[in-house]
């Protein structure tokens, strides 16, 4: 498997007034194409920061982030937008759908930003929501909304899916469903999936586990035989 993402000596410093906070402190790691990666760490460790840097939502202070041989840290604003549109599918804790658009329309919204031929119904079917296509977010359960946002993220056929606590607002049964879906995306479609979570059990299902603390990498574990999400003991 080839390396698709590489962090080299990445620092991220937040300044507010005199207060200086090092949210990323000399972070180094690589992620291979199609890997199912879990990022673990206590609150405030810098997990979201890492994901936002990788997804081009935030700029690093120093170091290099290389995705598909491109240096993200050298991108202009326009290039970053383009990078987000084509390469990155974000999934957040709160489902973040456009409330005024139906499930189907939320997915097909992506037609406006990528040249990919998107069949919204097919994508919704792949997350098991074909029958809910015409419902508005407020008419869907939390799990269903999260599945719509996954559908929206994968519709673009991005290089990677970046998920920041995707099950944080769901009950555990629905959470397993979502994680299962994400693992399938990685196993079956070869999409690189990076999941930030508090739930250490998920580590057993990951190809790679990155633990961080105080903005630093604590350890990186590679699972030779990851379990199926569905087979984990929750």
């Amino acid at each position: 498997m080839s390396t698709i993402i590489e962090f080299k000596n990445v620092d991220k410093i937040y300044k507010s007034g005199d207060h200086i906070l090092k949210a990323m402190d000399n972070v180094n790691f690589t992620i291979d194409e199609g890997e199912f990666v879990v990022i673990l760490g206590p609150s405030g460790a810098g997990k979201s920061t890492l994901l936002n840097l990788l997804g081009g939502l935030d700029m690093l202070t120093s170091g290099e982030i290389i995705v598909n041989d491109n240096h993200i840290e050298e991108f202009s604003d326009n290039q970053l937008t383009d990078y987000r549109a084509k390469n990155v599918g974000f999934i957040f804790q709160f489902y973040n759908l456009i409330p005024n658009l139906t499930a189907l329309e939320n997915v097909e919204l992506m037609k406006d930003i990528v040249d990919v031929d998107i069949n919204g119904l097919e994508v919704l079917e792949s997350v098991g929501l074909k029958d809910h296509a015409d419902q508005f977010p407020a008419q869907l359960s939390g799990g269903e909304q999260q599945r719509v946002s996954i559908a929206r993220a994968v519709a673009k056929q991005p290089t990677m899916l970046l998920c920041d606590e995707p099950t944080g607002a769901l009950d555990s049964k629905t959470g397993v469903l979502i994680l299962n879906l994400l693992q399938d995306m990685s196993n079956n479609q070869g999409t690189t999936v990076v999941i930030v979570t508090h739930n250490a059990i998920l580590a057993h299902a990951a190809d790679k586990v990155i633990r961080i603390k105080n903005g630093q990498i604590e350890c990186i574990v590679i699972n030779e035989n990851p379990k199926k999400v569905a087979d984990l003991e929750w």
């Binding site: 383009d82 987000r84 549109a85 973040n96 005024n100 658009l101 992506m110 037609k111 406006d112 930003i113």
Partner: protein, 367 residues
């Protein structure tokens, strides 16, 4: 897809957006409507003045003989002139209507505008060409006879034609501002119809080059003492009354729309500010998805744009189609013009465009 979102957002805030739409519509509606009306008046009256060769000025004198004409001709600026005898008469009806008689030498300046009958014939001693408003008020027809009394004369003439005169677009008596057409009027006759031996011409209609002020100076310099007064076109009662009326309409066309447009822009500003503040999260989602800042901005700007665009197009169409029809009937009871047609001006489009541009700026400012 963002268009769908826009339409649903607009529907959710339909009261505000309906007000924006209505105010934008009303602004252009009134501007183009009253504008179409007043520009129409201007175009119609100018055409009337041109068709009838309305005088540029009137020289009043008691000695308008050949020598006088020669002198006026020598002023250089004079292009064309024609003398008339203008006298007040009483027509022979029970209410003693006041008819101003014009004994004309050629009917070349401030010409009679024929509606019915035959054209003015300078060799006709027995014919009279009568004010249509008066004829209508009295039920007079071509072929009828009418008698006028003035000074010691009493003349009876046959009505050969009925029509208008550019000097009587507005014609009211001293006693009332609103004309009563059964009590006053005018009539044109050939100088040959004058009952006396010589015609005591008292008005010289002139057409001249240059400004009225220059012409007045020339007259003053060369002919001081030989004439009583000079009236330039813009001082003529009928001309000035009508152009003041047009000015008032144009002022109305200017003020009301400004108010409507300002209200539209204010509502747009508050509505968009509120919507955008309320949708900060959604804006974040769109950005995370990879929407360009520019597309997101255009999305929010388009709310006001479409409404203001549709409002102004409707205003541009409906305004000139309806408002003139509303105004002209009451106007035509005071003013006499051969045609009442609304006119179009590119200014209407410019104002609509300016408002659309303003809506873009306002939405941009809200963003």
């Amino acid at each position: 897809m963002l268009k769908k979102k826009m339409i649903r957002d607009i529907r959710r805030h339909k009261t505000q957006f309906l007000s924006i739409f209505l105010m934008a519509f009303l602004g252009v509606f009134v501007f183009a409507g009253v504008g179409g009306e007043s520009v129409g008046l201007e175009v119609n009256v100018d055409k009337f003045y041109d068709d009838t060769n309305l005088a540029d000025g009137w020289i009043y004198s008691n000695y308008i003989n050949d020598l006088f004409l020669e002198q006026v001709n020598c002023l250089g600026a004079t292009n064309q002139m024609e003398r008339q005898l203008v006298v007040d008469s009483i027509a022979d009806f029970s209410n003693d209507p006041e008819i101003t008689l014009h004994f004309v030498e050629n009917n070349t300046i401030s010409k009679f505008y024929l509606i019915d009958g035959e054209p003015v014939d300078i060799n006709d001693k027995n014919g009279v060409w009568l004010d249509k408003s008066f004829a209508d008020a009295k039920g007079l027809k071509v072929g009828d006879n009418i008698t006028f009394k003035f000074e010691d004369y009493k003349i009876e003439k046959e009505i050969k034609g009925i029509g208008y005169s550019p000097e009587y677009v507005y014609h009211a008596s001293q006693s009332s501002v609103i004309p009563d057409f059964s009590k006053l009027g005018f009539a044109y006759m050939s100088y040959k119809a004058f009952p006396g031996d010589t015609v005591p011409y008292n008005v010289l209609n002139v057409k001249f080059d240059g400004t009225a002020e220059n012409y007045n100076d020339l007259l003053d310099y060369h002919m001081d003492g030989y004439y009583n007064s000079f009236v330039e076109r813009s001082e003529h009662t009928s001309v000035s009354q009508f152009s003041e009326e047009i000015d008032q309409h144009q002022m109305m066309a200017g003020i009301f729309p400004v108010v409507f447009i300002l209200i539209a822009m204010l509502i747009l500003l508050t509505t968009m500010t509120r919507i955008i503040a309320h949708q900060r999260t959604q804006i974040g989602i769109l950005k995370a998805c990879g929407f360009k800042d520019k597309s997101i901005m255009l999305h929010y700007i388009s709310y006001g744009f479409w409404l203001v665009l549709i409002g102004s197009i409707l205003g541009l169409i409906i305004g000139p189609m309806t408002l003139p029809k509303l105004f002209y009937p009451s106007m035509s009871s005071t003013y006499i013009l051969p045609s009442w047609n609304p006119a179009w001006s590119m200014n209407f489009v410019y104002v609509a465009l300016a408002m659309i541009l303003m809506s873009l700026l306002v939405s941009y400012f809200a963003f």
